[in-house]
């Protein structure tokens, strides 16, 4: 906030507080007239002004308003309700004492109310700070776990790549052609895995407070799916990918790059957990206000108890997965984080006769065409 705008908001709050005083004191005076009409005692009208000061103390920010309204309350009472009316003189000898008591009572009550209000505000702020700190700690914990798991995951392919390269450098000639070919293939596939991992990491850094920072606009679902399919065809040139899409333009509200990444991750999993000669299918349909995108394979499928866990951070299908089938550890967790941040849902089900279907939804977008 600039100095100027601080000044402005300060003078605004003084104005607001003065208005509160004016309204409340006027109300008290009007109520006083009503009391008087019903022949209630002066003490009751005094009570009205004390209540007014209490109310003012609660709804204004500064103790000065309490002080001023206490004084004004006494003056108003004197002016409107003591004999002679509409004058600041008071004939009855008891009045000066009444004025002083009224002022002191009003001021003390007001001060207490103001203090109480401040204490409540402080308590609220403390609670909020505590909550924020807890969330921050949770995020830090998540980040720490992620970093630990990632540096562990990165070490394996890096060891393989550097080791294989050093073998080639020092004694590549002594190896026979097929052994060398194996080494080339390993270096290539391990580095491809690293590329996928780094891509995911890049997106994972955008998670804050468990939610993804999004860059949402109206996108054509077809474009997103095509991009993801192209990417997968590049990384898995031997696999057949079937795209099942009706001839319909579906606009969705999405961060296109992130949704491409989700579909790429899902197809990557589908390819990894199914046989090389089986199809992987991406299908798209419209269901009311949502688009439903499904990626299905004809692999071994996922057992019901594992279905619950696959979306957890770093869950990789237990320790039995062999290295050649190493999946991108944070893949599905990242997918879920991205989809829920879009206001969609993601779920796993069984394919028929065998295999897995992962489906997610995205809200349909609206376009006013600019002709």
């Amino acid at each position: 906030m600039t100095a100027d705008s601080i000044k402005k908001s300060k003078s605004l709050s003084v104005f607001k507080d003065s208005a509160v005083c004016l309204v409340v004191l006027t109300a008290a005076t009007l109520a006083g007239y009503a009391f008087k009409a019903f022949h209630l005692a002066d003490a009751d009208i005094i009570m009205l002004y004390i209540i007014a000061v209490l109310v003012i103390s609660i709804f204004t920010s500064k103790i000065q308003f309490c002080l001023i309204s206490s004084v004004v309350g006494v003056v108003l009472f004197n002016y409107f309700f003591t004999y002679p009316e509409f004058s600041l003189s008071a004939h009855d000898a008891g009045y000066p004492v009444a004025f002083v008591t009224m002022f002191i009572t009003a001021f003390i009550a007001g001060t207490l109310a103001n203090k109480l209000k401040r204490n409540i505000l402080i308590a609220e702020q403390n609670a909020r700070e505590k909550e924020e700190a807890a969330l921050l700690a949770q995020n830090e914990q998540l980040r720490a776990n992620m970093l630990r798991s990632i540096s562990h995951d990165l070490r394996t392919p890096l060891t393989s790549i550097s080791g294989n390269a050093s073998t080639l450098l020092s004694g590549g000639d002594t190896l026979d052609e097929s052994a060398r070919q194996q080494i080339y293939t390993d270096i290539y596939s391990e580095s491809m895995w690293l590329i996928g991992m780094v891509e995911n990491l890049l997106y994972a850094t955008r998670i804050e407070d468990g939610r993804m920072q999004l860059n949402i606009s109206v996108e054509i679902l077809d474009d997103i799916v095509q991009e993801a399919v192209r990417h997968t065809e590049r990384t898995h040139p031997k696999r057949d990918i079937v795209v099942d899409m009706r001839d319909e333009i579906i606009p969705v509200m999405a961060d296109a790059n992130l949704i491409v990444q989700v579909i790429v991750n899902l197809m990557d999993n589908a390819v990894k957990y199914s046989d090389d000669d089986s199809d992987v299918t991406v299908s798209v349909r419209r269901e009311n206000a949502y688009a439903v995108i499904s990626v299905s394979d004809y692999g071994t499928g996922i057992s019901d108890e594992e279905k619950e866990k696959v979306f957890d951070m770093f869950y990789t299908g237990g320790s039995h997965s062999s290295d050649s089938r190493r999946s991108l550890g944070l893949g599905l967790a990242l997918c879920r984080s991205i989809i829920t941040s879009h206001g969609g849902t993601i779920s796993v089900s069984d394919n028929i006769p065998n295999g897995t279907i992962v489906s997610f939804t995205l809200p349909i977008g609206e376009v006013n065409l600019n002709e």
Binding site: V218, I220, Q226, D247, N257, E371
Partner: protein
Amino acid sequence: MNEYLVLVVEDDKPIRNLITTTLKMNDYRFITAVRSNEAIMLSASHKPDIIILDLGLPDIDGVEIIEHIRTWSDVPIIIVSARSEDRDKITALDKGADDYLTKPFSVDELLARLRVIQRRLMKSENISVTEFVNGRLRIDYVSGCVHLDDEELHLTPIEYKLLCLLAKNVGKVLTHKYIIQSVWGTPADNSEASLRVFMATLRKKLSDSSQALIQTHIGIGYRMMKL
């Protein structure tokens, strides 16, 4: 022997080696530059046919090199950049770069980009001002008719404008901003969303669901391929 001369501007040695090895294996001629002034000098003295330019040079911004070269030459420029620099890529394309490669890129991708540029260079040798032919697509600029094979397509005025813009820049990636400015003049809030929908309907009329003719570059723009 390939007659194309490629200028490679890249300060990172392993990447430079990767690019030059690929060029050598595919019979391209090449020269290399590490610094920007070197790049500008070589592009003036050797008149390369294609420039591959890393955006992240140590001395000056790659975008400045593009601006500089564009003052005297239309040589096709392919920029190389890291993924996190989406905005830089768009700026570079707006300043006159033709295409981009994102690190990490594969050798196949690099070769594919070079082929796209080559097809375009070949095309511009027998350019016609009244007609545009690309694969099954034929645009007659004089009558404003568009044909797919022998069938005439019925395009709305905006679709026709879009198609002509892409055709005139065939092989080149056009950014959303550039397209919107060229077609609508003043951009409105819904311009990008509208553009996406118009492209989708245009693509449908062109029976191009596989994006063989018009590619979508997510977050960047569109490009018509030379078939």
